[in-house]
């Protein structure tokens, strides 16, 4: 598959975008567009609060966050965001069922100790969950392993194998599989190419699993 072939499949984002939106990382833009104004949102692994800050100021959401790094938490609290220092494995259990309209787990699932359990918790505390993660089935990842015989290092997986926080990598097909196991409904999915541009492919198909560098999934409780 050539690079041009990959690019030709993308569907450009047509809607007009504000400058605040433009400043967001592309995958966060995709997530931001999935969130209704005034929603109660919990962003787990919220980093420096880029998404939360945007959602709070531009969409008037009730924005809460969980972040592991002290620098990230400080950056958030300094912006006036409500963020607790903690992690997805240990600090979500206290939240009541259905506490949030949307729970966001962006590029974090693969770094959790128990991703399956984290997913269950997301589905419990959120009416909807938006999960994005790097696709380990992406052809460049596969090529690094198959052709070069090395653990892949890509812009999304930018750590050497020995210091990577990503301890539970999965492919899009794996993720769809665990959703099926948990009885989680995939309400919507967007696959992103390596430039973070969205393109529409069936997440259950082989092509998505090969061409997407990352996937963004909107999940709800209940059978498909």
């Amino acid at each position: 598959m050539s690079r041009d072939a990959v690019l030709s499949m993308r569907i450009p984002v047509l809607e007009a975008s504000s400058s605040a939106r433009d400043r967001l990382r592309r995958d966060l833009r995709v997530i931001a567009d999935m969130i209704e104004p005034s929603a109660r949102v919990l962003d787990i692994g919220c980093g420096d609060g880029a998404l939360l800050g945007y959602l709070a100021s531009e969409k008037g959401v009730d924005a809460r966050g969980v972040e592991l790094s002290q620098s990230g938490v400080n950056a958030c609290v300094t912006q006036g965001l409500s963020v607790i220092q903690g992690d997805a494995d240990s600090d979500l259990d206290a939240y009541p069922t259905g506490a949030f309209d949307v729970v966001v787990l962006s590029q974090t699932l693969q770094a959790t100790r128990q991703p399956r359990r984290v997913l269950e918790t997301l589905m419990r505390i959120g009416k909807r969950a938006i999960v994005s993660f790097p696709n380990f089935g992406f052809w460049r990842v596969r090529a690094a392993l198959a052709l070069r015989g090395r653990m892949p290092v890509t812009p999304l997986l930018d750590h050497a194998w020995y210091d990577s926080p990503n301890i539970h990598l999965c492919t899009i097909r794996d993720f769809v599989g665990v959703c099926d196991e948990l009885g989680v409904r995939i309400e919507k999915s967007v696959t992103l190419d390596r430039h973070g541009r969205p393109f529409a492919l069936d997440p259950r198909g082989s092509l998505a699993n090969l061409l997407a560098e990352q996937g963004v999934f909107v999940l709800t409780r209940g059978a498909p």
């Binding site: 006036g80 607790i84 903690g86 259990d93 206290a94 939240y95």
Partner: protein, 389 residues
């Protein structure tokens, strides 16, 4: 009713300490069952209360703290205990906020405590002073806030026992606290902390000069017992790393050990100094009463054993802060508090600050603490409609 308060000096028969005094006539119903009063609250203020009375911050002091947050201590002449935090342009910005700090009930810096005269006997209360709780301290502060005509406190903030008062405020008066900042604190006093307090109390009570609590009548002071209590407690405020960094095994003004029990080591000399200066400014019976109040503090127990229940009606925005090397109020205590607040979907931020300074970190220049607080308060001020100055 003052809409703008500027510091002035009130004369008392025994002191000319700066600050204000409010005599509360209506008795306070204490947790121990006693109706207590009238009593005096000694307090200090900084900055100006705005016309809407919406910019007041109540600062709650710790076990051995007092109302002199940002001006020199009237006995020791040391700078106020939070003078790095509170003042013009500082985190607790007196150009923007109206700061209030009251000496706690049972204290010894002007608010009625065991060293004061029981009007019924004409003698010092000593051990006939009723046992008080953190909730009683907060009830007394509420009287003061009512007196000042402030309906909603913009913020209630405090470290250690001050943090306990913050939590009690948020739980007892959820409609009157916009933002709550408990620093290096917990929703209950741990067994280990009760144990340390008991060591301190026993040291005081073992001093013959304590005279079964009647030392004022006897014209004596249990200085040695109180100093030992302070020395033991002071160790718990530091960390092994901080002690090592500060003192190591260095000797005090000598090249070799003296083969005796003099203060050979710098750390011994430091502790002795901490103990001996403390007795100049603190009352031994107050130390007994206030440590007991901390021991009795268990916010969950006050609400049927459930910590989330304590915050069921909480509408405040919380900022919980702990320090990595604090072994007196370790981070898991703060985390438990955060989880309880999460359970009621309260608006909460939580930061654990990396430092080797131990529990004392909340009193020291800790840039991360200042930065976090400044950001949190700015965000809250925006939501509370307090214009930036």
């Amino acid at each position: 009713m003052p809409s703008a308060i500027t510091p002035r000096t009130l004369k008392r028969p025994d002191t000319d300490w700066p600050g204000y005094r409010l005599v509360v006539r209506e008795p306070l119903q204490l947790d121990c069952g006693v109706d207590f009063g009238p009593f005096t609250i000694a307090y200090q203020t900084y900055g100006t209360l705005n016309a809407e009375r919406s910019n007041a911050i109540l600062i709650c002091h710790a076990l051995t703290g007092d109302q002199y947050v940002a001006d020199p201590h009237p006995i020791t002449a040391h700078p106020g205990w939070w003078s790095t935090m509170a003042g013009p342009g500082l985190v607790l910005d007196t150009d923007r906020y109206f700061l209030i700090c009251a000496n706690v009930l049972g204290g010894c810096m002007g608010t009625t405590g065991p060293k004061d005269i029981d009007p019924a006997t004409g003698k010092p209360w000593a051990l006939s002073f009723p046992l008080i709780t953190v909730r009683d301290m907060v009830r007394a502060q509420k009287r003061l806030i009512d007196h000042l005509g402030i309906e909603t406190l913009f913020c209630v903030i405090g470290g250690s026992m001050g943090g306990m008062q913050v939590l009690e405020w948020a739980a007892s008066y959820p409609d009157n606290v916009f933002a709550a900042v408990p620093v290096a604190s917990a929703a209950r006093h741990s067994a280990q902390n009760i144990a340390f307090h008991e060591v301190g109390r026993q040291a005081i009570m073992a001093d013959p000069d304590w005279c079964d609590g009647q030392y004022l009548d006897a014209g004596r002071r249990p200085a040695r017992g109180l100093a030992v209590a302070r020395m033991a407690a002071h160790i718990t405020y530091l960390s092994e790393a901080a002690l090592h960094r500060k003192f190591g095994r260095n000797l005090q003004d000598r090249n070799t050990v003296t083969w005796g029990f003099d203060a050979d080591f710098q750390v011994e000399s430091y502790l002795r100094h901490q103990g001996s200066t403390f007795v100049d400014r603190f009352d031994a019976n107050s130390y007994l009463y206030i440590t007991r109040a901390m021991d009795y503090f268990d916010l969950a127990a006050e609400h049927g054993g459930s910590l989330p229940a304590a915050f069921a009606g909480a509408r405040s925005r919380f900022c919980v802060i702990s320090f990595t090397s604090d072994w007196l109020f370790p981070t898991p205590e703060s985390r438990e508090l955060v989880h309880a607040l999460n359970a009621v979907a309260a608006n909460v931020s939580f930061v654990e600050i990396a430092t080797d300074k131990g529990h004392d970190a909340f009193l020291l220049h800790e840039p991360e603490l200042f930065e976090t607080l400044r950001g949190f308060l700015n965000g809250c001020a925006e939501h509370h409609g307090l214009a930036r100055t």
